[in-house]
């Protein structure tokens, strides 16, 4: 008997047509929707940070360090979604010690681990001067914590700071490739499965990467706006305009590639196309509508913002609206892929309707808790390592 008995994880899905008997319990539920979603936020946020740290695009400076902390916060919660889903999470360490290398899953710990180390290192270099300053100004346990975090490196001379900048630049450059690799890998997990018609696509890793960047930039816009409002500080308009340009570029390519995917599918008209039409018109119709509408509408908004060179509160307000819509669109896209793929029966003769449980280890409440948890962790990280401005050294 497993030590982690579920409460409401196993719900038999209603179906139409013919499905294999074992398919009626959908194996990957809402947690596996959350997992690629959170991982995508990591990739997107990191890319923005690298635009400043690697390419020195000054307009992104106000959010560069916030983006790094965001990436770490989300990356910390991505494995939680996976672990919660496992029947035997206590055995998950076997995927590291005795990894079976023909499995795409076996690489997760290594890919995510490499990325986490890289991210933590970059954060350390990017915040080192602040950590040193806070180790001198903070007292008690917090002071001790900062002193530990300095790792004994308290040199803040210009030469040392140049060294920090150099390392940050290199790590950010490597991190761009790692971010694309991490999320491309997540797309590969789905795209490489030949058993599921809805997943088996060469474009899957590319679509995952592109949509990840879109969602990551969107979450960064929201975090920046909300944190600035809470702190009652001004929002840098150039930064917001820069974010709008990045969002516009990635959104354009995402919409084009995803549209191409659908057009190809319908143009090819392979055997299962009738069932795919049923899937789109049935179980995931709402998800597809959200994905399409909430992608096209923000695209139109951001295009207008850039074309008319909108600035001030209008820019900030419309960018915030667009970001909320885009985060919803990407979440819907994850649902449409992960759940939609399983709602299309392997028999190609039937369609299921997945009904998530509310409670339990694989329930909606736990999934939302994990998602919110990453934002709470970001808040804690931002309190510990304020990303807004440099801490002044004590005299």
């Amino acid at each position: 008997m497993g030590a982690f008995m579920p409460i409401a994880d196993f719900i038999v899905s209603p179906y139409s047509g013919y499905v294999y008997p074992n398919e009626t319990v959908v194996p990957w539920g809402v947690l596996i929707v959350i997992y690629p979603y959170i991982t995508g936020l990591v990739a997107g946020a990191f890319i923005v940070s690298s635009l400043y740290h690697t390419f020195r695009m000054e307009s992104f400076k106000p959010v560069a360090r916030l983006a790094l902390l965001s990436a770490l916060a989300f990356l910390s919660f991505a494995p939680a979604a996976l672990l919660s889903h496992l029947g035997h999470p206590e055995r998950s360490v076997e995927a590291i010690w005795t990894a079976h290398w023909t499995s795409a899953f076996a690489a997760f710990a290594y890919v995510a681990g490499f990325y986490a180390i890289l991210l933590v290192l970059e954060i350390w270099f990017a915040f080192r001067v602040d950590i040193v300053a806070m180790s001198q100004t903070s007292k008690g346990a917090l002071g001790r914590l900062y002193r530990i975090l300095t790792l004994g490196s308290t040199d803040v001379s210009e030469h040392a700071l140049a060294y920090d900048r150099k390392w940050t630049q290199v790590l950010a450059a490597v991190g761009i490739a790692a971010a694309f690799g991490l999320h491309g890998y997540v797309g590969f997990v789905f795209g490489s499965l030949k058993s599921r018609e809805w997943w088996s696509s060469d474009l899957m890793p590319i679509i995952f990467i592109l949509s990840a960047v879109v969602s990551g930039v969107a979450v960064l816009v929201l975090v920046y706006v909300v944190s600035s409002k809470v702190r009652k500080t001004a929002i840098d308009e150039n930064c917001m305009a820069g974010l709008a340009r990045v969002l516009w570029g990635f959104l354009l390519v995402t919409i084009v590639v995803e549209t191409l995917e659908y057009v190809e599918m319908f143009y090819r008209r392979l055997e299962g196309i009738a069932m795919i039409k049923q899937l789109i018109a049935g179980p995931i119709s709402t998800g597809i509508a959200i994905q399409a509408l909430f992608s096209l509408l923000p695209f139109a908004i951001v295009t207008m913002l850039l074309a008319r060179k909108v600035r001030g509160n209008a820019l900030i307000g419309w960018m915030s609206v667009s970001s909320v819509l885009l985060m919803s669109a990407v979440l819907a896209m994850r649902w449409n892929v992960v759940i939609g793929g399983q709602e299309l029966s392997k028999t190609a003769k039937g369609v299921l309707t997945y009904i998530p449980g509310l409670w339990g280890r694989e329930g909606v409440v736990w999934a939302i808790t994990l998602l919110c948890g990453s934002f709470v962790f970001l808040w804690i990280l931002a309190r510990l390592l304020p990303p807004w401005e440099r801490v002044r050294m004590s005299e």
Binding site: Y20, P27, G87, H100
Partner: protein, 292 residues
């Protein structure tokens, strides 16, 4: 069943622990510490002395509870004769009992599909014993039968198709397992080490035949093993034994006179979803292109 399923993992771990023990013993002797008996020293020395002094190595890895069974000497395969199956579902019940499969309507190691072509329709109506109409006819999700739902229709063609794990030559389920808990044995059977499975369900996704299910009680994946605990003792799988019409055939491909060899030679056989490249080893007679 878990005993046989775990044999590979246990064998390799046992070997590793044994090697570790010998290394520790040698280290302890060299460093002059620890208390090692003369007998254990002699045993370690004799096994470390090389092939000349070592006892003859067995030709095959020890495969658990049936030490006399040589899994390199067999290549098991399964045949399904759809022209014989009468849809009695005794095989489904026997499998559930034999292998402790939960008695419900969503977990099966084997099941039976019914294909019915009605007059004027070019596509078959397909159902299995799990169809709500059939469950209603059985008056329980724990009893299995096909309702006589087409008795007032004009049926032009119909047949039953038993389904089970295809024990593929290149199993996609084995490829995707992140810990190697599911593996292919030398005699061609795909097994799951339920003491090693982490319950990620990647294999459930990868199987194109829907042959795997997630066992809620053990929190691990489960599927047909061709009754490995029986076939290694010279018996046939439970579903084959109970079939009243010999619609299920099982045997050793290495034996030209076996039931399966004769079945393959004497029928126009096909496999399910050959395009997957998995190389299924359940061979069908009497099915049409609508069966997937």
């Amino acid at each position: 069943m878990s005993e046989t399923n775990t044999c590979k993992g246990q064998a390799s771990r046992r070997g590793f622990i044994s090697l570790l023990g010998k290394m520790c013993a040698t280290t302890a002797v060299c460093s002059g510490v620890g208390t090692v008996s003369l007998e254990s020293l002699a045993a370690a020395a004799s096994s470390a002395a090389g092939p000349a002094a070592a006892p003859a190595k067995p030709e095959f890895p020890v495969s658990g509870p049936v030490p006399e069974y040589d899994w390199t000497k067999h290549r098991w395969a399964f045949g399904v004769d759809a022209t014989r199956c009468i849809g009695c579902l005794r095989c489904v019940e026997a499998c559930k009992v034999e292998n402790n499969v939960p008695f419900n309507a969503q977990d099966f190691r084997t099941w039976v599909e019914r294909y019915v072509y009605l007059e004027g329709e070019d596509k078959p109506r397909v159902d299995s014993q799990c169809d709500p109409v059939n469950i209603a006819a059985a008056e329980s999700a724990q009893d299995y039968r096909f309702s006589n739902r087409y008795r007032n229709e004009k049926v032009t063609k119909s047949f039953f198709v038993p389904k089970l794990c295809n024990h593929c030559e290149n199993p996609a389920c084995v490829q995707v397992c992140p810990v190697g808990a599911t593996y292919k044995t030398p005699d061609g059977v795909v097994l799951i080490d339920e003491k090693y499975c982490i319950g990620c369900r990647y294999c459930v996704q990868a199987c194109p035949y829907g042959a795997r299910y997630f066992n809620e009680e053990t929190q691990t994946t489960d599927k047909c093993t061709w009754c490995y605990h029986r076939i290694t003792k010279g018996l046939k799988p439970a579903c084959v034994d109970v079939c009243p019409v010999q619609a299920r055939v099982f045997g050793d491909l290495n034996d030209p006179a076996s039931d399966i060899s004769l079945f393959i030679r004497s029928h126009q056989i096909s496999v399910l979803k050959p395009w997957t490249g998995n190389g299924p080893h359940v061979f069908y007679n009497g099915i049409d292109g609508e069966v997937s």
